[in-house]
Symmetry: C2
Amino acid sequence: MHDQHSQALKGLKLKATPKRLAILNLLAEESVYTSPEEIWRKLQGKFGRLGLPTVYRNLEELAAGGMISKVIHPNRQLYYYFCPNRHHHHHFICISCRKVEDIDFCGMEEITKNVSGTVLSHIVQVNGLCRACSNRQEGGAS
Amino acid sequence: MHDQHSQALKGLKLKATPKRLAILNLLAEESVYTSPEEIWRKLQGKFGRLGLPTVYRNLEELAAGGMISKVIHPNRQLYYYFCPNRHHHHHFICISCRKVEDIDFCGMEEITKNVSGTVLSHIVQVNGLCRACSNRQEGGAS
DNA sequence: TGCGTAAATGGAAATCATTTCTTTTTAGAA
DNA sequence: TTCTAAAAAGAAATGATTTCCATTTACGCA
């Protein structure tokens, strides 16, 4: 896994620095979306020190390279790692536990048909409660 | 139109102040997405004065009431007015002229089928060039 | 038609996530 | 091992958005 990441970084012409790998590994551990600040906090102490701007810079570069994705959020940057070899998939995010799941449907073909201009990009994000959180809520006393 | 807006505001328990109506009318004139700052600039001079916080506050209230919509944008608030009586439609936005068009397709039913949890909300936005901007680009010399 | 009150507004100041700047350190190719 | 471009630290800047609070205003009701 570590090695796989290093290779991927090489492909993007990004150096495989320990901090960059740590950020990537942290995100890859779980499919859960995370804020830069949170990543920064979790990695403090290791490597001597880690600057918050470094986290921001790395996340942006990794997202630009397609290794991680960004959650649509009105006033925050949130990133998650997902399925490196499956491109162009959309995700279902659990607003409770922040887990990210794949959605096996896009629907863009149909949408494109209904647009008279040129489609350049599209955003699809489904928000909700994952099975586990949904059950927990159902069962829980109010 | 003016009256229609007043009625709608009444329904939302928002007072039909001149400034609020002016913001709404400005957005309703064209289906083009606009920033708070731009609205503020355009309305300066009329009404003596208009505070930027007032614009922000109003846009937020109007969006909460479903009278206007928000563009998905990573670091800016952009709003547009669209089809007051057609709810739950998605839009195609032209990144060149900023015009907003309706998309007659959602695809949420199918998406929902593929999700194991509970869907609470979803975001769909298609970005591109409208017919006019697309043609202009094609024809123009580089 | 005039009052009273909750809502709306202005303007200044605060917030705060994100970015920029500059210097120092480091990965990795030669 | 050396060299160079990329990466990182830390402090400071940015800038869109929000908050605060004193003042004004819309509009329901008498």
